[in-house]
């Protein structure tokens, strides 16, 4: 087992205990959403559109309903009408009208795989047969598959009631325009010695969680419903399902199952309200589980994008101006992460003159959902490639160029407010001083590339309770579903505050009735915000325990100090009393102790990462082999270093897949052609090297333990790092992802042809 990174201040924080839920997971006992079964349970399946863009003229359920074993079928008509406006739902901004239509289409289908009807039957095979018996008449419309096609004048319109502020009452596919401006870019570019202007295209990619979406809905005749599902946010499932079903939030209880990956894709809802509605109609629990094909066709991937960047620098290596135009695919309904992309694209650098225009564009693809640092990876692919080119032009080492322009405490962000204490410089220096960076890379067709990334991280709301048991052990209850081992960190923080061994603290992820409101597990916020609530709840327990100790000793609470896991009388006149001992006296001193806290967390610390990658390009197949990879990331304070490393490695692996092979293939009819994991090609064990991690700790001044979110930023640099490495290997600047063999080979052949033509001309 690896050595602890305990810095000496802490007894538990910084160590690497075995996670409390680990044994159940390695034994196959842990219950994920699809593992739930109830007596009399029915199984549901969905009918999905085969067309990318069509009007639904009629739906005939007769034959399907007649199949023995079919108990109910619902369509979009069975969902209540929702309002067409942006609303606050928990902490998410959501348009219930679009959300409802995405769950079951109303009059139009807007992507291959768009759900139209849901069937409940006695077994999943009968449900599938019934789906095939539903008859739908479509009026097929021309599909609009790219931002270029969608933004062209005269493009077919997807949503006839969509308007954006700038085009007045005109029908459009552009849902939103964001703009950020500072200084004077014309003057800036005039003063530049080098200007680089390029256009980038990134393909749509999926979060790729191994576990498909699932939900079991149980509706009772008294109007109370329970949903069991794998989700990143039980409270969001509750509020969003309530909106879609038109019932009160308080009538739904959501029990989060263990979750098999989310990465942002399970922060919204698809099956949950349908499982409840089908249960209402049949009087039985109803389970819906997606197939892999449905996951890829119909659940949020992240946007493909077109990004044009122009950047200028003076020959001493100062970036003086940047201009960006970016259009992101929102999918069928508005809501791409272009706003975030626009705010991230040059976030690590101090640039006086900038203008960034970002467009959210609807296309006939699945409605996009959040994917680990949404919007930032697309943006960094463009900007970090250009930064590399500029560094080259200025004759500077790529890390030195970044360090020269890099943001520090007090630097203005793209949107203006100055950064508090951040670790961009330290993260770059960690890579610069790494053994990997210092090592020589030799051999033909080999190259090294580096890139950096930024993510804001989120705060939001969390609640926690800490219960002291009669034997002096404790449990800590939170509402943050555990997608990466976070419950261990919650136990560790509690143990640290209470002075207990971590094995004496049991962490629990609770349902929506058993814990106060807790926002989604995402935004790299759990260790930060839920950890903050846990820290405060544990402190609250100590405060109450101190009052009890005061009673026992018949002195005042302010005469007592808690340290090293025990209560001490400041006067020194009593032997210290451990929690274990005090716990025996709780009943006689006032009853049980529960420490509690709720936060709407402030003091968020943004995260930076820097990724270094060595590649080898096969000159005959254009396959890119990953030779070596190192990531440095500022974690603020690593509570459980193994799981922090895990987040760094996982995000890196996803970024590498995004860089090299992952993309959605649509044909000219708008049908998705790679609906399985063979052809939606994610990295396997054989594709990746060991991923070396360097945890940088520049404590976040806003958090009691210095924590910064770590879950997301690691996915941001890899595509640009790989592009830069490919350039140094074979002299080609790739400007589209994925940089898969067919695409790279095309460029390599072009280059060879140009070189041959040149040398032929020279002869």
């Amino acid at each position: 087992m690896a050595a602890a990174t305990n810095n000496g201040h802490f007894k538990v924080i910084g160590t690497r205990p075995i996670r409390h839920d680990g044994i159940d997971k390695v034994m196959g006992r842990a219950k994920y959403g699809a593992d739930y079964a109830f007596p009399g349970m029915l199984h549901g399946k969905l009918l999905r559109s085969p067309h990318a863009h069509a009007r639904i003229k009629s739906i005939n359920l007769t034959k399907a309903l007649a199949l023995p074993g079919v108990k109910a079928i619902i369509t979009g008509k069975d969902l209540p009408k929702a309002e067409n406006k942006l609303e606050q739902s928990g902490e998410m901004t959501v348009n219930p009208y679009y959300l409802s239509m995405n769950i079951l289409a109303h009059d139009k289908v807007l992507y291959d795989g768009h759900a139209i009807a849901a069937v409940a039957a006695t077994n999943p095979h009968i449900a599938e047969e019934a789906v095939r018996l539903i008859e739908v008449e479509y009026e097929v419309l021309p599909p609009v598959m790219t931002v270029d096609a969608a933004m062209k004048p005269g493009a077919p319109i997807l949503l006839h009631d969509l308007r954006n502020k700038e085009e007045g009452n005109k029908e459009t596919n552009v849902a939103q325009h964001h703009q950020f401006k500072r200084g004077d870019i014309e003057a800036g570019f005039k003063s530049a010695d080098f200007i680089i202007e390029r256009e980038f295209n990134t393909a749509m990619v999926h979060q790729g969680y191994i576990e498909p979406h699932n939900a079991v809905g149980i509706y009772n005749t008294d109007g109370q419903a329970t949903i069991y599902c794998s989700t990143q946010g039980a409270f969001d499932v509750r509020s969003l399902s309530a909106q879609v079903l038109g019932i009160a939030v308080g009538k739904i209880k959501v029990v989060p199952a263990e979750i098999g990956g989310g990465f942002g894709g399970k922060t919204t809802i698809y099956l949950e309200p349908l499982s409840v509605l089908l249960s209402k109609m049949t009087g039985a629990p109803v389970k819906l589980v997606m197939t892999r094909g449905e996951v890829l066709r119909a659940t949020g991937p992240t946007s493909g994008s077109k990004i044009k960047v122009k950047m200028g620098a003076t020959k001493d290596g100062t970036i003086v101006a940047a201009q960006v135009w970016m259009a992101y695919e929102a999918g069928a309904y508005p809501g791409s992460p272009v706003g975030a992309g626009a705010m991230c694209i040059i976030a690590p650098y101090t640039i006086e003159n900038l203008q960034i225009d970002g467009y959210d564009v609807v296309v006939n693809r699945p409605k996009t959902a959040a994917y680990r640092a949404p919007g930032a990876t697309n943006a960094a692919f463009a900007s970090e490639t250009i930064i590399d080119e500029l560094a080259d032009k200025c004759g500077m080492d790529p890390l030195d160029f970044r360090l020269k322009n890099g943001v520090k405490e007090g630097s203005a962000q793209v949107v203006g407010p100055p950064f508090k204490r951040i670790g961009f410089v330290e993260t770059c220096e960690a890579i610069k001083n790494s053994e990997h960076y210092k090592s020589k890379l030799t051999g033909k067709n080999r190259g090294r590339g580096v890139a950096t990334g930024f993510w804001f991280n989120a705060g939001m709301q969390s609640s926690a309770t800490v219960n002291i048991h009669t034997d002096g052990t404790a449990s800590v209850v939170t509402g943050s579903t555990d997608i990466g081992g976070s419950r261990a960190a919650m136990a560790m923080i509690t143990a640290e505050v209470l002075g207990l061994p971590v094995t004496d603290v049991r962490p629990l992820v609770a349902d929506t009735d058993s814990i106060g409101h807790t926002d989604v597990t995402g935004g790299s916020r759990v260790t930060f915000a839920t950890g903050m609530a846990v820290y405060e709840a544990a402190q609250d327990a100590i405060k109450q325990l101190t009052e009890r100790a005061a009673k026992v000793w018949e002195i005042k609470p302010d005469q007592i100090e808690f340290r090293d896991g025990a209560f001490h009388s400041k006067a020194g006149d009593k032997p210290p009393m451990a929690i274990k001992e005090l716990a025996k006296r709780l009943a006689r001193t006032g009853g049980p102790i529960t420490g509690r806290a709720s936060v709407n967390a402030r003091g968020v610390g943004p995260g930076f990462a820097a990724t270094l990658v060595d590649v080898e390009v096969d000159p005959d197949t254009a396959k890119v082999k990953l030779l070596r990879c190192t990531i440095a990331q500022d974690a603020g304070r690593a509570i459980h270093p193994s799981y922090v490393e895990g987040q760094m490695q996982g995000g890196t692996a996803q970024g590498l897949g995004w860089a090299l092979n992952e993309e959605y293939f649509y044909d000219d009819k708008g049908t998705l052609r790679n609906t399985g994991l063979l052809d939606y090609r994610m990295p396997t064990c054989l594709d990746l090297p060991m991923i070396e991690t360097i945890i940088v700790e520049v404590p976040n001044p806003g958090h009691p333990l210095g924590v910064r979110g770590v879950g997301e930023v690691s996915i941001v640099p890899p595509p640009a790092a790989v592009a830069n490495a490919i350039f140094h290997a074979v002299g080609i600047r790739m400007m589209e992802t994925p940089m898969s063999p067919p695409k790279l080979m095309k460029e390599m052949l072009k280059k060879r042809a140009a070189e041959n033509a040149q040398s032929a001309a020279a002869d």
């Binding site: 942006l86 609303e87 606050q88 928990g90 902490e91 998410m92 901004t93 502020k165 700038e166 325009h177 964001h178 703009q179 950020f180 401006k181 500072r182 990143q232 946010g233 969001d236 989310g262 990465f263 942002g264 922060t267 919204t268 809501g335 992460p337 706003g339 975030a340 626009a342 705010m343 203008q355 959902a369 959040a370 994917y371 680990r372 640092a373 949404p374 962000q413 949107v415 203006g416 407010p417 100055p418 950064f419 508090k420 804001f456 989120a458 705060g459 939001m460 709301q461 926002d519 989604v520 995402g522 935004g523 790299s524 709407n600 402030r602 003091g603 968020v604 806003g702 879950g711 997301e712």
Partner: protein, 105 residues
Amino acid sequence: MLPDGAGPIRSGSGFFPMPTAIIPALLRKLTAGRERVAVKGGTVREIVADLERQFPGLANHLLDAGEIKPSIAISIDGEIVPGGVLEPVGENSEVHFLPALSGGA
């Protein structure tokens, strides 16, 4: 009207600190191109009301039924704050109106 880029204004007896609102790029057409505007108020509600006084029609882009629009996040002195119109604003604070990032990973 106050000069562009103003923060504290000079008066006979010294400086009166005033918060500064940073106007989003696409709304600067309503503020005659000004990016930084000194505003009066101790809460977000008060400074938005002051912005409306200085530039009629601006509040419509920021508020929905009296609360900050769900699509807008408020950042005060570099930190995203959750209090909406109730959020207190300090004398020297910088207030930014940003696109809200959707909750989630």
